[in-house]
């Protein structure tokens, strides 16, 4: 075959691939130009957050782990997380330290059950908690967009891995959904849903789904601060 034809077909294939990806993107937005205000007030773990006890369910690698999870803020800006089953046996103790990249918390393991001690899973925890405890902006403001598809608005942040989208609905509303999109096709790698009750600093419920690992993580608050 003529080399120019091969190049032609390759170009056509790439264009088709890109077109397919564009069609599959999950949001349609237009920049609003509105200023970003009070990001801290919108955070899942809002100002004044100290500690919270969740009922937790983690499904990953074909295992269902159930128990309690405590998240506790530290004075130095880090957060400690402990997950243990009903009878008290620990699945893991983690600490999340402020990072030096946008929307990045550095995960350190204090103690972990051996079957969960996998790099890929720890990276997933690091990403999910970075999103949940964020957004942490190195340089503000983050651009704010109108969300044509779902309504409301969202912040779009270039994070250490992909782009993180923080969705909210009103001028003073808290983030109700966080997604991480990566790759050429802007796949939703991580989706986090959040609900709140009253003015509690910590969420009432959190759902996390990471499709590429067939991982789901749900948290339901059982203590008030």
């Amino acid at each position: 075959m003529n080399p120019s034809r091969i190049i032609y077909f390759i170009c056509i294939s790439v264009l088709l691939l890109l077109a397919g990806c564009r069609a599959s993107k999950h949001w349609h937005a237009a920049e609003s130009g509105a200023p970003v205000t009070a990001i801290g007030e919108r955070k899942a773990f809002g100002p004044g957050f100290d500690k919270v006890l969740f009922r937790a369910r983690l499904s990953v690698y074909g295992q269902d782990l159930n128990g309690l999870m405590m998240i506790k803020a530290q004075d130095d800006g880090s957060h400690k997380v402990a997950f243990f089953n009903e009878l008290g046996m620990n699945f893991f103790d983690l600490i999340l330290l402020p990072g030096d990249k946008a929307n990045h918390r550095i995960l350190r393991v204090n103690n972990i059950y051996s079957s969960l001690n996998r790099k890929k899973l720890l990276n997933a925890f690091e990403k999910q908690f970075s999103m949940l405890l964020g957004p942490d902006l190195l340089q503000s403001p983050a651009p704010e967009y109108a969300d044509d598809k779902h309504g409301g608005r969202f912040l779009r942040i270039d994070s250490y891995r992909g782009k993180d989208h923080y969705y909210f609905e009103g001028p003073s509303a808290r983030f109700r959904m966080i997604t991480n999109v990566t790759g050429l096709c802007r796949d939703e790698k991580v989706v986090i849903g959040i609900s709140y009750q009253e003015d509690e600093p910590a969420p009432e419920k959190i759902w996390i789904r990471q499709a590429d690992m067939k991982m789901t993580f749900s948290l339901e608050r059982i203590s008030r601060q």
Binding site: L68, M70, K72, K80, N85, E86, S114, I222
Partner: protein, 219 residues
């Protein structure tokens, strides 16, 4: 050179003595002293436990999280019936039910009956085995633990160190506080290698009272 080596040896001996003294003080602080005749104690425990056909009790659980410097409390109801039936019913801070009946494990929360969980089952089975072996009087002869026994005026304290590698990952040791009057378990304490521990205290105990069959079935 020789002086330096002697110093190291003396330092080591002093450290060892301090360790022995401090360990002894820790036990003495709780009023516990080693049981002198362990063979006699084991025989008495086996005989007394053999008389227990059923137990129903409330329990209070405290999980100490050293890493977070926090405690988490829960409570519920506990049932045992010979031969191999246990029911742990957590009522606070939320409903959670675990039933061991023979070799099967059933778990339910307020939304669903949970699928059998291999990871958790390692722990659940171990606790199940501890309780079953304890009430059947086989705990000291099971071969699954190294054990030592202490006593004060009210209780015996049996310290069990798991020998199975899979269990060592979770638990460094288990302490059973056994009531001297009826040889029932007052408290079960599971201590992890990290220093975290879980204490389960059994209160309002009723021994050898009939327990209906439905308690050990999941409806």
């Amino acid at each position: 050179m020789l002086k330096k080596r002697n110093k190291v040896i003396i330092g080591g001996v002093v450290s060892l003595l301090l360790l022995v003294v401090s360990t002894g003080q820790a036990i003495a602080q709780d009023g516990y002293t080693p049981v002198q005749d362990t063979a006699l104690f084991a025989a008495k425990l086996k005989k007394a436990s053999g008389l227990t056909r059923s137990i129903s009790s409330d329990f209070l659980q405290l999980k100490h999280l050293g890493f977070l410097e926090e405690d988490v409390e829960s409570s519920g109801r506990f049932y045992f019936r010979r031969e191999k039936q246990l029911r742990w019913e957590y009522t606070a801070p939320f409903f959670y039910l675990i039933i061991f009946s023979g070799d099967s494990i059933m778990i339910r929360d307020d939304e669903r009956t949970l699928t059998y969980d291999a990871t958790s089952s390692v722990m659940f089975r171990e606790i199940n085995d501890v309780m079953l072996n304890m009430v059947s009087g086989n705990i000291l002869g099971s071969g699954h633990y190294e054990w030592s026994a202490f006593e004060n005026d009210l209780n015996y304290m049996i310290e069990l160190r798991p020998l199975k590698p899979g269990m060592k990952e979770f638990l460094e040791k288990i302490r059973l506080f056994v009531n001297k009057t009826d040889f029932s378990v007052d408290e079960l304490m599971m201590i992890e290698a990290s220093g975290d521990y879980t204490s389960i205290k059994f209160v309002n105990k009723h021994l050898n009272e009939p327990i209906p069959d439905h308690i050990f079935y999941m409806h």
